[in-house]
Symmetry: C2
Subunit: 168 residues, 2 copies
Amino acid sequence: MLNSPLPRDPIADAREQWVSHGWASEADAMAAITAVMRTASIYLQRADAILKPHGLTFARFEVLALLGFSKRGSLPMSRASELLQVHATSLTNSVDRLEATGLVQRIAHPTDGRTRLLELNPQGLEVLNAAREDLNKMLFAQSNLAPKDATELFEILSRFRRASGDFL
Amino acid sequence: MLNSPLPRDPIADAREQWVSHGWASEADAMAAITAVMRTASIYLQRADAILKPHGLTFARFEVLALLGFSKRGSLPMSRASELLQVHATSLTNSVDRLEATGLVQRIAHPTDGRTRLLELNPQGLEVLNAAREDLNKMLFAQSNLAPKDATELFEILSRFRRASGDFL
DNA sequence: ACAATATACTTGGACTTCCAAGGGTTTGGA
DNA sequence: TCCAAACCCTTGGAAGTCCAAGTATATTGT
């Protein structure tokens, strides 16, 4: 999966190209945004590799985790897709697979015929607990982020996400 | 594309759940990593929307931009996939599409029969210039990152990427 | 009451990513 | 020399993302 490390950071190189071509004022944002994408891809690969033995992906793990925290144990699809901040179609896809493996169930809403409620099955709860333990041990506890960096990173991205309309 | 903002930050909520379930020491990394993924997804959507009128995606834009900076104007596939830090198969996919629209060409390597060189066509150069201008104006210059945040973000992620073996 | 509008979810299509496996080409050791 | 190992790229398959469009159900306004 990992090639041998490059001798130079290709994003830092791109940043210099940006500066020397006259786009200096956009260079820092370009570099930051490109680095965010690369970082997300690294973490996603690591997470998916850790979750594979549990028969999960990160996308599906997030669904289980959300259901595991919900007070009632069930949540409308629309609410879940809102909280996970993915398109409804992406959630449909994830839930199809979670339902096919018996981890989750779609049940009818008592009063609104349009709405489907998601419910964690007992087996889903077991898989969630095991997967979360692995993720905590093997990803979050080994994030390659200094504690101060993790905090600062979250704060910067919170400002960004608020400015982008994610939350108030 | 954008739903109305949520009243609360769902990642901050997840972080609190993590703490109150006894995984306090992993909570900050979990929140930071989840925020990175969400941020990447926001930027990717914005970039793809901006590039769509140019017939590009961000993945394909990156290929053009890389070729545009290369001294010789041509680059082996393997070198390009290394610098863009994507799998060779992903690059094959992007190049297939760039070639189909006439922006790029695969040419034979003079001495190594295994290698294909990528070359930017004149039309590819035009599209690159126009796309880059839009991206600079509409994405990088409006990144929703304070200048200090962009710099700090890049630095934190550089430490992370180095620790993860991206570069020396 | 009923038509128009809005909401909830699914389907189909385009695109990306990765992995596993295969085909060709080159290199290097016996 | 020549066969095995390494390397470069492509194909096929599984997953994820989004958007656009469609179906079904609720809500709203006249």
